[in-house]
Amino acid sequence: MQFSIAISGFVALYIYMLAAFAGWVIVGHVPAILHTPLMSGSNFVHGIVVVGGIFALLNASTVREQAIGFLAILLGAGNVSGGFAVTDRMLAMFQPSQPKPVHASNEASQSGKA
């Protein structure tokens, strides 16, 4: 069985096209009230770059490569945890007025799970 991923030429372009379309559609439906949290949230998502940094550092065999890998993870991890912290803080503040009792208990159980 083959699990390694090989992406060449056109496959990459198909992936890029579909992903770009998905991103465009997702944001197209976001109300202006959520623009800042969304910018911050998408900023968090590109923190996935830290995974590339981990790959690089684990494959490093010279001091320069180790330094670059270390830097990549340091910056990427900052992107991830900072992006999550500020986005979560912003979004936690969005509360509807006069929550109906049923609604309120629903939300409470949801936040309990989270």
Partner: protein
Amino acid sequence: MMSDLFKILPEAVIGAVDLIATFLFMYGLKRMSSPVTAPSGIKVAGVGMAVAILASFLYAFDIGATAKPFLLLNLGLAVLAIAIGGGLAWWAGRTVAMTAMPQMVAIYNGLGGGAAAAIAAFELFGDKADGVTQLVFSLLGALIGAVSFSGSVIAWAKLDEVLKKPLRFPGQQIFNGLVAIATLAVGGYIVAVSRGTITSPVAMPVLIYIFFGATLLFGILMTLPIGGADMPVVISIYNALTGLAVSLDGFVLENPALMIAGMVVGAAGTLLTLLMAKAMNRSVSNILFSNFGTVVEQKQGAIKGSLKPVEASDAGIFMRYASSLIVVPGYGLAAAQAQGKLYEFVKLLQAAGVSVKFAIHPVAGRMPGQMDVLLAEAGVPYDMIFQLEDINDDFANTDVALVIGANDVVNPAARTEKTSPIYGMPILNADKAKKVYVIKRGQGKGYAGIVNALFYGDNCNMVYGDAAAVLTKMIEAVRALGTKAAA
């Protein structure tokens, strides 16, 4: 057989986990598209990130022979880097004031761009690119990531007011253009040298250092002349660019999770940038390449009327006896940290039977939606908050419009003055309300540097002072009324 298993199994786990993570990113972003589901959206994306990072340590099972002796050391360094970088950013993100959010987003975005550039550097220095396509993608990833990094740092410095003034000099655009061309030329040279078409007198690592130096310089030069008011659009552009850089790195590393997550952000950020530029009635290239703010010393149509200052307490009492009020907040509210005071005042008015709404201009503040976030922080329910197109017709039937620290977004010149730099920008029709109060620090102009005819209107009174101080006086005045009535 056993060794095969140790190679195949981690690969399968990483592939499966990354697939799940990619799904969770998209699903999380989708949930962020509604205020009701948004708070859980970031948590969904967060779970995806956590599992993807944990799974990436399985790369340790399949590394090159030259890196094997360093595996333990490298694993330790990786954990250390995550602890330091993640810990510092977490602490900063949790403790910073809500008003500083725009610059925090800028700096975290810059970190991501820097990481993307560093990964590209790893590929370039190690000569790991497999064919010319991967090499070009590495160089582009390095270029875009590094520009996003240094540009975001400048954007942060401007928003945090470390850098106070846009830096402009004659021939700046030509100079920046030359730096851009030089950067691309070095990149092209690197491709040619590594393909063996040219033999370079300079060693390859030196060329790569020059390339990074030029890209970082370009990011700085490109951002320096842009004024503070345009920073939201600039941050949005850099957000999209970092996404793109991550996505290019993903191709080189053959990692579809990076490719997809990066490209989704790239596309989303691009659309967001266009929406913001549209709201300001300017093109993106106009924001990036024109020196907005320096050229606005121009003639304006004569403005009739005068500025009529009133006491905060008088204004507060007037609003207490109005039947409807629309609040228009702007950056001044954020600067004075007065969002809590504002909602306190609004609650007093609501208790007195005044119907209150908030009207948000798409580019109020220094980031789209910044006002929404600030009001949300103060506890204002989001169904009291209305966007421009939903509320603009209501001003004409409203007793009082209360403008707090906003200026250009309520300037009627945008409707009438063809020569005005903001002509054509949709504005909030605060001037159509029966009565307008404007809370403002002084008589200064807005970011666009133009006089606001609204302030001179017959129906308008100015309340000068820091927004927090003024609101405190208004609250006291209205409270005093209440106790008198009770007594």
